[in-house]
């Protein structure tokens, strides 16, 4: 996909988020254009989800601003959704005790107006709006392949379908931009491929997508552009090829053994530990104990 000349749907400028002394996100700029799928990758703790939370108003960024279609967004989640940015969550956050259909209907909240009075009086307008919401919600369930489970409680859905339902619920607010936070976490290869198809289908509906993911094959298959976040800063941004061949990205993911310092320090630490352990190991009982300790630890680890 070539870069479009249209104005971006999302413009994040200098977004910085500090928690006390910790800077989780530092002056990150990011644009997403209509019809684009943009990937956001980075090692654990790089600040990807924090950045998402800044975009959607769950966090108030310490500095910087987020604009949707040129309008700066107030940092209130419901206003962000109202404006047209919808999101899913890294750890699934469905309304567990509501049915699948009701979950999607809640997603329609910003696109309907019926308040308490119209609910109590049940005029023709209310019935029309309810019917329209239901129709739209069923369309979305068809789209994500959950239509036959509309009456199930969402907590009873298998894991992969819960992820799909989160996407359906987010789409219910007719967003111009969809933020997906690790949509394939914990999925098997088939499910991941199905999710890929689903994201393409969403893009084809005209919704731009910004996606966080650890699965590199998924990201590089899917995205027109990928941004890499490392320790809160944007390291590099570009097409799959550019990002894949960037040495700094490889270093960020795999570490830099040739730079010496941390490796040498660690080696010294290990040596010191071994030296310290040796005298104690002379006694047979102590050795046994130490071994037992190690086994216990390994079991814990599993």
């Amino acid at each position: 996909m070539t870069t479009t000349t249209t104005s971006p749907v999302l413009t994040a400028t200098g977004v910085t988020m500090r928690f006390g002394g910790l800077t989780a996100v530092q002056s990150v700029d990011l644009d997403v254009h209509p019809g684009e799928i943009v990937g956001l990758i980075g090692p654990n703790g790089a600040g990807k989800t924090t950045f998402f939370n800044c975009l959607t108003g769950l966090y108030v960024p310490t500095e910087g601003s987020v604009a949707y279609q040129g309008t700066v967004l107030p940092p209130k989640p419901h206003l962000v959704t109202q404006a047209g940015i919808a999101r899913t969550f890294q750890n699934i956050r469905l309304f567990a005790n509501m049915t699948v259909l009701e979950n999607v209907l809640v997603g329609r909240h910003t696109r309907t107006r019926e308040g308490l009075w119209s609910a109590l009086l049940r005029g023709p307008g209310f019935k029309r709006a309810e019917a329209a919401s239901k129709t739209r919600a069923m369309e979305l369930l068809e789209f994500t392949g959950l239509a036959d489970k509309a009456d199930h409680l969402s907590r009873n859905l298998p894991y992969g379908e819960q992820r799909k339902l989160e996407i359906a619920r987010a789409l219910a607010s007719d967003p111009g931009l969809l933020l997906l936070d690790e949509p394939t976490a914990g999925m098997n290869p088939q499910e991941t491929r199905a999710t890929e198809e689903l994201v393409f289908a969403i893009r084809d509906l005209g919704t731009a997508v910004l996606v966080i993911e650890h699965d590199m094959r998924f990201i590089f298959n899917l995205c027109d552009r990928v941004a890499v976040l490392v320790q809160g800063q944007k390291l590099v941004e570009g097409t799959s090829e550019v990002v894949q061949s960037d040495e700094r990205v490889i270093a960020a993911y795999l570490g830099t053994p040739f730079e010496g310092a941390p490796g040498a320090e660690e080696a010294a630490e290990v040596e010191a530990a071994e030296a310290g352990a040796a005298p104690r190991a002379t006694g047979g009982a102590a050795q046994d104990e130490a071994q037992r300790g190690t086994t216990a630890r390994t079991e814990d680890g599993q």
Partner: protein, 582 residues
């Protein structure tokens, strides 16, 4: 034999049924029948024991309970024996139901026998009939516990014509009314009949649930919703006409009021998930407002509003208080809100105590409250007089009961309509996960404030009616916890015990929580202890409340989904994989 292949389990079960199970079931039926016969004997020699159990030839008092449960045991045992025409009784298995019925018969009978011995000082007061009853009711207990368990998922019922199904609903409500009436009309001076009634109803209700009959009926009622509503309404309306003592109708009014207030609280707690521990204050606001504008001689405001205006004023003032309390506090989440509302409840009571002209401005007469609220008169219909309708008299309490019933219907309507709409879904979404709800575009604060204010308004309206019924308001009625309802603990307990988020739950919960202590006044100081123990037991064994929410309707879907534990397993292992990758 294709059936062998398609239904191997059924065939195996039928094969195993053979002699032993059949014999046990037959013995159970015989035991039930013997229990029935024993109730026709005299159990004691003196009429001093309540209910007069001294007659040969016809049962009375507590014997009636043994009679009914004995018949039920026998009939269910016959149904278990596959007697034609009775199989509909046990759509989801007979053994567990039989065990409970046998236990219920046994418990009621032994309770009666022991009560006779204790009340009249000695086993010598038992007639042979009592001994026989005690022995024969033990038989079905023994036999049913030897029976193999035959629980099965609720099987598809036979299609009935719709008029028959509607008749069944009507019959269920008639029986329900009779049972409630029986319980209410037990003599308050003697706790034995009511205790026996509680034991019998408890065992019978669980037995019917285990047999699958309650599941069948709830299916019917959800198919014929409007019929059910009309039947429920008629049952509620005719209730006061069958009461011959004003103390019974008084129970009715109080139950109606507290059930309504509990249902209002259910909007706040059950739907929106906001734990309000000071809800009784809004009832108080409504009651005090209505009392002040009622034209009472003790009122500090010299106005007399017509009743409808007093009710609206009560509701509106409550609404204002709800918004004033809610606006600053609903930005808090969870526990904080509970503490703030708890504080508000106490502030209200103390303020009413102190607005007496010496400690503060003269508004409420302090601890004396506002007495002498004039009786209601609407269109020349005086609520304090007895009225005769078609030969049946309706006393003063009955009048207020019907008036209160109107408010109950209003609240039920508001609850069901608001709950099943965009705003109701937003409430439930906030309850389930507030962060996700706001990310779906719900303005959490606004939506919560609407729930809080609506709950406050409904309590205010109920309070206005209550003030007129009581004809006096005093601050000490509006405490956080106490032995006498209304208090906030009572209301919250009614909602949680009955079932959060349902209509039937709080109504049933408030009824039980009001009626049982009223009938067991002999417990005196131990009432609150018993109340606490009962709540703990209920929460341990049925945390979702007596009337569970939604899940019941979805039972069919859920039984088809055996992948639930598998899904969590997948999730766990999936997390492991991601961690390993990272």
């Amino acid at each position: 034999m294709t059936t062998d292949k398609t239904q191997p389990t059924a065939v195996r079960k039928a094969g195993a049924t053979a002699p032993r199970t059949t014999l046990l079931r037959a013995l159970t039926a015989a035991g039930g029948a013997a229990a029935v016969v024993s109730t026709f004997l005299a159990w004691t020699w003196t009429a001093e024991f309540p209910g007069d159990l001294t007659f040969y030839g016809y049962p009375g008092g507590l014997q009636l309970l043994t009679l009914v449960l004995g018949i039920a045991t026998a009939v269910f045992a016959l149904a278990a024996l596959d007697l034609k025409g009775l199989r509909w009784l046990t759509p989801s298995g007979s053994t567990q139901a039989l065990r409970l019925l046998a236990l219920g018969t046994f418990a009621v009978t032994w309770f009666t026998v022991i009560a006779i011995a204790v009340d009249l000082d000695g086993l010598v007061n038992l007639e042979p009939g009592g001994w026989i009853a005690a022995v024969v009711t033990a038989v079905p207990v023994a036999t049913t516990f030897l029976l193999p368990d035959d629980s099965r998922p609720l099987c598809r019922p036979k299609e009935l014509p719709s008029w028959a199904e509607i008749l069944i609903i009507a019959a269920v409500f008639a029986v329900g009314l009779y049972v409630v009436n029986y319980g209410i009309q037990t003599d308050a001076d003697h706790p034995e009949p009511f205790l026996g009634f509680l034991i019998a109803v408890g065992f019978a209700a669980v037995a019917l649930a285990k047999a699958g009959l309650i599941g069948r009926i709830s299916e019917l009622t959800s198919t014929y919703r409007s019929v059910t509503l009309v039947a429920a309404l008629i049952t509620a309306i005719v209730f006061p006409f069958f009461q011959d003592k004003s103390s019974f109708t008084e129970l009715g009014v109080n139950i109606a009021i507290f059930a309504t207030v509990a249902l209002g609280l259910n909007i706040v707690v059950g739907l929106a998930g906001l734990l309000d521990l000071g809800y009784v204050a809004f009832l108080g606001v409504g009651a005090y407002t209505a009392a002040l504008v009622s034209g009472s001689t003790a009122s500090t405001i010299d106005v007399k509003f017509p009743f409808w205006a007093a009710v609206i004023t009560g509701g509106v003032v409550s609404l204002i208080f709800g918004v004033v309390i809610g606006a600053p506090t609903l930005r808090l989440r969870g526990d904080y809100l509970a503490i703030v509302t708890l504080g508000f409840g106490e502030i209200f009571r103390l303020a009413m105590l102190n607005l007496d002209g010496t400690s503060g401005p003269s508004v409420t007469n302090g601890p004396d409250g506002i007495p002498n609220i004039p009786p209601l008169e609407i269109f020349g219909f005086n609520f304090n007089d007895d009225h005769s309708v078609g030969g049946l008299t309706l006393d003063s309490n009955g009048n207020y009961y019907l008036l209160m019933l109107l408010v109950t219907v209003l609240v039920v309507l508001i609850f069901s309509r608001a709950g099943n709409s965009r705003i109701g879904r937003a409430w439930v979404a906030i309850r389930e996960d507030e962060t996700a709800a706001t990310a779906m575009g719900i303005n959490g604060f606004r939506v919560k404030l609407i729930a809080f204010a609506l709950g406050a308004t409904l309590a205010g309206v109920a309070g206005a009616v209550w003030a007129h019924f009581q004809s006096t308001v005093v601050p000490e009625q509006y405490v956080f916890a106490g032995p006498v309802p209304p208090n906030s603990t009572f209301l919250v307990a009614a909602v949680i015990l009955g079932g959060m988020g349902t209509i039937g739950g709080p109504l049933l919960g408030a009824t039980l929580l009001y009626l049982i202590p009223k009938k067991l006044e002999f417990l005196q100081d131990y009432q609150l202890l018993a109340f606490g123990i009962a709540l703990i037991l209920l929460m341990r064994f049925r945390p979702e409340g007596i009337v569970p929410n939604r899940r019941q309707q979805l039972e069919y879907h859920e039984t088809g989904q055996l992948d639930v534990p598998g899904a969590t397993g997948l999730k766990d292992s999936a997390v492991g994989v991601t961690k390993a990758e990272a």
